[in-house]
């Protein structure tokens, strides 16, 4: 069975397979280990009840929405206090409230963001305005 214009067909199919298998040869068969963010900052270690403003699962998937809402509340509506579901009040501030406990930005923020393929300086664009806390290594 003859394939007409076999040369071009072969080139085309090779390009197709090459493009489709890009993730396979680009990673050279190695997967980066999934991140395990550490929660052992001094402030958190001292807390009796280790709890964030929302349950862990919700924070994992929804933290960016909360930060965005807080930004809007503070900057545009002038509201500074957030009442959590359990009645506790928090100051809506990334630098003063979030980073007070999670003072380890490289561990707590960057690790997952890098793993998810985000560009640290631009997406998310938190740190284009905010100053990350100093970390002692």
């Amino acid at each position: 069975m003859k394939i007409y214009d076999g040369k071009y067909i072969l080139i085309g199919l090779l390009v197709f397979v090459g493009v489709i298998t890009f993730p396979i040869w680009f990673n050279l068969g190695k997967a980066a280990p999934p991140p395990e963010p550490k929660l052992d900052t001094p402030v958190i270690m001292q807390m009796a009840q280790k709890q964030c403003v929302l349950p862990r699962e919700e924070m994992r998937t929804g933290h960016m929405q909360i930060l965005n809402d807080w930004r809007t509340q503070v900057v545009r509506n002038g509201k500074r206090m957030y009442v959590a579901a359990d009645g506790k009040t928090y100051e809506m501030s990334l630098q003063n409230e979030c980073m007070r406990c999670h003072s380890n930005k490289t561990q707590f923020c960057d690790q997952c963001h890098t793993y998810a393929g985000l560009k640290l300086d631009s997406t998310p664009y938190c740190w284009t305005c905010h100053v990350p806390p100093k970390e002692t290594k």
């Binding site: 214009d5 489709i20 680009f26 997967a31 960016m64 965005n68 997406t123």
Partner: protein, 343 residues
């Protein structure tokens, strides 16, 4: 009828994976087995289709006369619409693949008040088609973020451009909206225009509904019913490194998205979606119009036994000369008559 069938098919697929995950807990089946099978079917199917198509010879040039053919030196040839050389054919193919040149020619034919015929510009199909394809392409490239350890250099600028509106967090991607709008337009067009509806088959509605559902579920995983991205990436990376693990606790919406994409991949080579490969093989697009310049020999010509005039004369020369018939080559000298030899 076609719409109902296609809609039922898509709903059944969604229900199947929903029940499979929620009731039966088949995360490994839907997270690993189905995607692997789908990608195999996709690659194998495309290769099979292309090879099958290319087994048929297309010996003669099918000239489509959309532009001035190469002719006398003082007549200007339309090099892209009526190519003669390989380079010009590549140019026409690039126009077709990247800008859908043929679709751009689309006109609408209308009869109005008696025997008046109108041909109108109709660019909406072209526009929606182009938007859909480019949006889909950019969305696909963006998904590389789940499949690579470090981002390839071209993904980040694309993402930034796509999300430059910086609306909300996670930021809204323009292509997400364009994709939904374009696919919805393509779908509504089939329903609203009576002729389109008449000639539309389940094979036309099904891919559109499938794409629409894929788009909606994808948008839901990103903006609304969130899933844990890190676990999704872990699953994706484990698939491309052939060490499959399905992490616990990925939302069912992700599995619906993944399953529908798998269905799309497996369905692709055996449906009209295969125009992606077919466009490169369409004879009216990939053949130079050189039927008056190059001799094209039919490849299925079998050798015909012919008896040329020269051979015929060789056979019968003596008899022809004897009978006084004119011959092209005279008899050899010793056999000729003295008179003929002198002359």
């Amino acid at each position: 009828m076609g719409i109902r069938f296609s809609l039922a098919a898509v709903v059944a697929l969604v229900l199947a994976v929903f029940l499979g995950i929620k009731a039966a807990g088949l995360t490994y089946f839907f997270g690993v087995c189905v995607p692997y099978a789908a990608i195999l079917a996709f690659v194998g199917g495309v290769v099979y289709k292309v090879l099958k198509w290319r087994r048929s010879p297309v010996p003669f040039r099918i000239a489509t006369t959309a532009g001035q053919q190469k002719s006398l030196p003082w007549i200007k040839q339309d090099r892209l619409e009526n190519p003669v050389t390989k380079k010009e054919v590549v140019g026409r193919m690039l126009l077709e693949v990247f800008l859908f040149r043929s679709l751009f020619r689309n006109t609408k034919f209308q009869m109005d008040q008696g025997p008046k015929l109108y041909y109108q510009w109709e660019k909406w199909l072209w526009l929606a088609g182009l938007l859909f394809h480019y949006a889909f392409f950019i969305i696909l490239v963006r998904h590389l973020r789940f499949f690579t350890n470090s981002l390839p250099f071209f993904v980040e600028p694309l993402e930034r451009l796509d999300g430059f509106l910086q609306v909300g967090l996670p930021g809204v991607y323009i292509t997400d909206a364009l994709f939904i709008v374009a696919v919805t337009y393509l779908f509504i067009r089939r329903i609203v225009i009576p002729q389109m509806r008449y000639m539309s088959l389940p094979a036309d509605y099904f891919p559109l509904l499938l794409l629409l559902t894929i788009g909606v579920t994808g948008i839901m995983t990103r903006y609304f019913t969130k899933v844990d991205l890190l676990k999704v990436k872990q699953l994706a990376m484990s698939l491309v490194t052939f060490n499959p693990i399905v992490p616990e606790g990925i939302g069912v919406i992700f599995f619906i998205h993944l399953f529908l994409v798998s269905i799309l991949l497996a369905y692709f080579p055996f449906s009209k979606l295969m125009h992606a490969g077919g466009v490169f093989l369409s004879p009216t697009r990939n053949q130079p119009n050189d039927s008056r310049i190059v001799r094209h020999i039919n490849p299925w010509n079998y050798p015909v036994k012919v008896h040329t005039y020269a051979e015929y004369e060789d056979h019968f020369r003596e008899k022809m000369v004897e009978a006084g018939l004119p011959v092209e080559k005279e008899l050899p000298a010793e056999a000729t008559t003295p008179q003929a030899g002198k002359e």
